[in-house]
Symmetry: C2
């Protein structure tokens, strides 16, 4: 025993056995289908980049978490920690050839040497989509539509996309003569959901020099234009903002763009999934326009499952070409966790619903022939590899989550029949060979 | 300019822009569909493993190519160089819970710090499928069927799966009293396709102690049972082998298993794609049973595009449980290169065939409504983000490879019409709103 190498994964890393991987693949497939249906094209970039490409792009914390080393050629390299920085590098390198507007999606693993105590993993997948090279509000609106379609494609019906526009809060702070401390105020606002009000006020006082009256006014605003607005009040609240801050162009610009977004959602009959929410202050050093977060009504505490926003310039560190854009990222692991908690995940360890029992090895050609007939109709069939006892094969089928078993021995072949078994109901009957496809389809 | 970080990828790594990524995704999707249709379940493992898991598993060359470093926790870690070693570790860790037989597929990137002069990349994808926990020939046969279906799913019609069984050559060498030198002889045989005959004879003489007469006998055998056999002779050649080496049980066992494989392919009417080929001596320290290589008739020089074989024990380094299995790996990059050379790849940079022209921004809701109608029918539609000149939008559509453009301005909306343009033929006509889906479908 001492000679064996202990089979284990690194701390913070995990294997995906079929029961985890089948839902993850399904989620990725649905996302891919939705992205493509809007004309987003797939790209990929290397897992490893020159460290100078990645360093200093995600803040001090991210720098510390980089998997960084020297390669065989003495190069300082690191594993990517997100898909945005590689996209900025990619865009700077290729946009001349690709042309604008350019719409891409990118799905892949990223790596961060994070503290694993918070239940986070050091390797996880991101699924980003972005439209770059345009400032058009049509792309902001489309971003929200893609989020809506993603959620529906994943069988969520009760969810809300919270939107804001960074200009609105900036304009309000300017109106309050607090423009200089705007960044610090927004950083404090970002903590509202997780921190007691007194602490937020304290931070605004100490970091941005606000009086408590000013701080209370801002917190009051956030409550008045908050995610918990009942359906239908978002439109009225936006009108209110324009009246209240009449003449502040930043507020007007922001609200106008959001109103166009609500217009399109209303004309499509899906505005009940949209909410104005001034408290969204995500990625504050990066986003400059519309911002998005998406919440599941059944599990609000899990946080936003799809978030993003508009930015002024993607690749300013690598090129002088100005590339404005808008995009969002699907929180794959968070969504999977939510779907598990909401019992939305199938509990199967097989991607094929039909098990073909191998009654006798001499008939393997016949088993595979019938299996191929079903496969050609889009029905997955596993042929059991050995001619074990039928009972053992059926046990295997039940354990793996197969739905239907097909069985044929000498008697059935002599009479042109197949035994078909519903594994959940444990009911079995005999049907003619030419009835198999139709019957299996009815049972699935 | 001096302030910009140069946007570049590492030597041996590359970006995948849409025109490369769209075919790669299509290939992965087809492979996934075929694997699943046979009941292979997806798994994934981390990119990073403890170095001790990977080291010494792929030979001296692979060890040198490892991307190996020390992580934040002082662990000796490395990026995986293939998907087989991680699968062995995975199986040792989880097989008790998963049970056998266990069929998995695994697609993902692997990393090797190879010399890039040979046109190889240091990051590339592998697509493996394996059945473990059974010695049944049904799984060997199924492996060949999966290869056949993969090739057909990728639109190849003229290809041949070359098969052999390692027992046959081992039995013959035993019969020639050369069992001791078998490993060295097989290593020499592996070079037959790339090396002059005299060099192969020299290697057999020096490394395995064969006389030139013995060496010539073996080379003669390989030619007699070679890949260039005309269709239909494989069966006769197998009978011949059993007669010639009558009583050598290893030869008989090997041939019997291959004959069962041919039986099933014949009963399915696809035996013209199967060939006996004794010269396949791949992965000689690893494979122990049936071995497979797949060649494109139009491009034989590109080498095997799907290869694999049966092995006695997958995870012997990590567990005492014996896990025999059989599997193969699709050569993704080689296939893509072949498809490019054979002009089988679509030259499009968009996954959506329809471009919706944005004639006027006020009608964005109507454009997105029609786009959604088409998307619901499975037809991808990109709505152009800005209301630029129609000519510019159509230029964009042609450059990206869209097939159809839809255009509607005030006149069309007033009359309930859409202009539809075939971008290849440059023909345009007006159709009624309720005809759009049908007409677009006909044009694609």
């Amino acid at each position: 025993m001492a000679d064996f190498i202990q089979p284990r994964t690194l701390k913070g890393f995990r294997d995906y056995p079929p029961e985890l991987m089948i839902p993850r693949e399904r989620l990725l497939e649905q996302a891919r289908r939705v992205y493509r249906s809007y004309g987003f094209a797939p790209i990929d970039t290397p897992a490893l980049e020159y460290t100078e490409i990645l360093l200093g792009k995600g803040g001090e914390e991210t720098d510390k978490q980089l998997y960084r080393f020297t390669d065989h050629g003495g190069r300082d390299v690191a594993l990517r920690f997100d898909l945005t920085v590689p996209f900025a590098r990619f865009a700077a390198e290729h946009i001349g050839k690709l042309g604008t507007p350019f719409k891409r999606y990118h799905m892949g693993p990223v790596w961060r040497g994070e503290n694993t105590q918070r239940g986070r993993y050091r390797e996880f997948w991101q699924c980003d989509f972005d439209t770059i090279g345009t400032t058009s509000n049509a792309s902001d609106i489309e971003t929200a539509l893609v989020i809506y379609d993603l959620m529906r494609a994943l069988d969520f019906h009760d969810f809300r996309i919270h939107v804001s526009h960074r200009s609105i809060l900036n304009g309000i702070l300017e109106h309050m003569n607090l423009a200089d401390g705007a960044a610090a105020v927004l950083r404090a606002i970002d903590k509202v959901a997780k921190t007691p009000e007194t602490d937020v006020l304290k931070e605004m006082r100490e970091k941005a020099g606000l009086t408590d009256t000013q701080g209370m006014e801002i917190l009051g605003l956030l409550k008045a234009y908050s995610p918990d607005l009942p359906i239908g009040t978002s439109r009225r609240k936006m009108e209110e903002l324009k009246t209240r801050y009449c003449g502040i162009s930043a507020v007007e610009t922001g609200v106008d763009r959001l109103e166009e977004l609500f217009d399109v959602f209303e004309s499509l009959g899906i505005a009940q999934h949209l909410r104005l929410d001034l408290s969204i202050a995500r990625g504050l050093d990066y986003y400059t326009g519309t911002v998005y977060e998406t919440f599941l009504s059944a599990l609000p505490a899990i946080g936003s499952v799809c978030s993003g926003g508009r930015y002024d310039n993607l690749a300013s560190l690598y090129t002088k070409q100005v590339l404005p854009g808008v995009g969002a990222s699907l929180g794959l692991d968070r969504l999977l966790a939510a779907m598990e908690e909401l019992k939305m995940l199938p509990t199967t360890a097989t991607p094929a619903p039909v098990l073909m029992v191998q009654f006798t090895p001499e008939r393997l050609g016949d088993y595979q022939k019938m299996a191929r007939t079903l496969r050609a109709e889009g029905i997955g069939v596993e042929v059991y590899p050995g001619a074990k006892k039928v009972g053992q094969q059926l046990q295997y089928a039940e354990r793996r989550g197969f739905k239907v078993a097909l069985i044929a021995g000498p008697d059935e072949f002599a009479n042109g029949l197949w035994k078909i078994k519903d594994l959940a109901k444990r009911e079995e009957r005999a049907i003619a060979t030419n009835e198999v496809v139709k019957t299996v389809r009815e049972m699935l």
